[in-house]
């Protein structure tokens, strides 16, 4: 029998990165990734962007089979981890096998939040998380003339922008008081609202979807809203956020909150079990966090790999995120959610905008639209412990880069 090594549950961006980083660090025991998807690990971000246009999976896959073989990373496809036996240190799989482990890494990601919406079982109602769902959406979208999207978050708006550019009639319904409410400042919400509306996307907020309407033979015809208004649509996308896949952890007696609970080193209460990526509820300076971003997935994976080979490193990053919404490139540097003071830089003759965010007088980050240099400058500023104040930003003109040069 081979010696147990590292078993990783979930073959997404985080799971794969744990494996690659372990090999980079010289880890030489077996590494097995258990993935319930039928394809090799791939990037999800393009699923709501370029993939809808080109349907090209080759552009998404993160490592080919040959590269994985060369690294001796074993990926078990279309296989679910069903239960963890912590005493025996083993995982039972859907194919009946049991995998022993020395270290176990949970990288199970999230799944779309299910709304209790009548009519969700009609044909042409979609969710978007996996390649299979994206492929189904892409095919259906090419035949659809009008699309209703429930949820004005990143994925909803990205798909809306793509569909609009493809000539569809697009309506976005957001129950919150503005689009992207949990993610960006009111200034950026308002800016993107105006840009998307200018492009012809209809956006309604502060209104819930009541039910999905359809014909007797199960075809979608639209959405009935809480105020009894009807949005005609032949395709509905449900994009109301995601919930962490933490059932497996809970079933094994591990703690969960808003995801799988870990300590600063990303370890669960079981010293042999770690968690990385979208499914993780981790401690941060201003309270516990769960982030859904590629950067977080990749950096947590690297941190856990170092800790598995003997490190004892606390996880810490300057978070950054991007969201391509058609022609509009939103980038977020830092943790800007919850800002109580926002300085907005905007030029009238372009779509560019930078929102510089503060909380309790401290600089927390910058949200930009079509201003990548400002975004990169903000990341540099955040990486330093500068103690920058509002005044520093008031003095600098639009170019945040000038501050990079002057701050120490």
């Amino acid at each position: 029998m081979t010696q147990p090594g590292v078993v990783i549950i979930g073959g997404g961006q985080a799971g794969l990165q744990v494996a690659l980083s372990l090999r980079q660090l010289g880890f030489d025991k077996p590494i097995q990734i258990v993935s319930d998807e039928p394809v090799l690990p791939y990037q999800r971000p393009p699923l709501s962007k370029t993939y809808l246009a080109d349907g090209n999976f080759d552009q998404l896959v993160l490592r080919g089979q040959a590269a994985l073989d060369a690294q001796q990373v074993d990926v078990l496809l279309a296989t679910r981890a069903e239960a963890i036996d912590r005493k025996a240190r083993s995982v039972s799989l859907s194919d009946g096998r049991t995998l022993p482990y020395e270290h176990l890494v949970l990288a199970t990601g999230t799944r779309p939040r299910r709304l209790p919406l009548a009519g969700s079982d009609l044909q042409n109602v979609h969710e978007l998380r996996t390649l299979a769902q994206a492929e189904r959406l892409r095919t259906a979208m090419s035949a659809a003339a009008s699309i209703a999207i429930v949820g004005g978050g990143f994925i909803g708006l990205e798909v809306a922008a793509f569909a609009r550019s493809a000539g569809k009639k697009v309506t976005v319904i957001e129950a919150g008081s503005r689009i992207l409410e949990r993610s960006v400042s009111a200034a950026v919400s308002a800016h993107l609202l105006q840009l998307h509306r200018r492009d012809g996307i209809e956006i309604r907020y502060r209104i819930g979807a009541g039910r999905i309407l359809g014909t007797a033979d199960g075809r979608v015809t639209g959405l009935l809203l809480a105020d009894d208004a009807v949005v005609d649509a032949d395709l509905v996308l449900l994009a109301a956020g995601a919930v962490p896949n933490d059932d497996l952890a809970r079933g094994a007696g591990l703690q969960t909150g808003n995801g799988i609970l870990v300590d600063t080193a990303l370890r669960t209460l079981d010293p042999c079990i770690w968690a990385v990526g979208d499914c993780v509820d981790f401690p941060a300076p201003r309270g516990r966090l769960r982030l859904e971003s590629v950067q977080n997935a990749v950096e947590q994976a690297k941190c856990v790999a170092r800790n598995i080979v003997g490190g004892n490193e606390a996880f810490g990053i300057v978070p950054w995120f991007w969201s391509d919404q058609g022609r509009y490139k939103l980038q977020i540097a830092g943790l800007t959610a919850g800002a109580d003071d926002v300085l907005v830089r905007k030029t009238e003759d372009s779509d560019r905008l930078a929102a510089i965010c503060f909380r309790d007088g401290t600089f927390t980050g910058v949200e930009t639209v079509n201003a990548p240099a400002d975004h990169m400058a903000a990341r540099t500023l955040l990486a330093r412990t500068t103690g920058l104040t509002r005044k520093d930003f008031e003095d600098a003109n639009l170019d945040l880069k000038s501050l990079v040069g002057s701050a120490t």
């Binding site: 971000p45 552009q59 391509d324 990169m376």
Partner: protein
């Protein structure tokens, strides 16, 4: 199918076959070429797929967009005349034999 050669910062060469339309970044990722991070997966939003295109090929690739140009100002290693984001270069027969040099660091 066009070929592309990656030259690492310490001079190691890897030559790979690309598909037409595949980005240079994607060729590196699928084959596990070290030295390209590509955090944003090709959106020109992270500047961690920076390469130096060998001089004879610079004018053969489609020119950088405004966004790419702005991101190139922010790369972790020095920007030079052949600097490009490899996710923004699509392989084609015209680029067969392309050589790109990888920078010291991407982050």
């Amino acid at each position: 199918m066009p070929k592309v050669t990656f030259v690492s910062a310490d001079g190691r060469e890897t030559t790979l076959t690309a598909q037409n339309g595949q980005s240079v970044m994607q060729v590196a990722m699928v084959n596990g070429v070290e030295g390209i991070v590509a955090e944003c997966g090709g959106s020109a939003m992270c500047a961690t797929c920076h390469v130096y295109v060998d001089t004879p090929f610079v004018h053969l690739a489609a020119p950088a967009s405004e966004i790419e140009n702005e991101m190139l100002d922010c790369v972790a290693s020095q920007r030079r005349p052949g600097s490009r984001l490899s996710c923004q270069i699509q392989m084609s027969d015209a680029l067969d034999g392309l050589r790109v040099f990888l920078p010291e660091t991407q982050q």
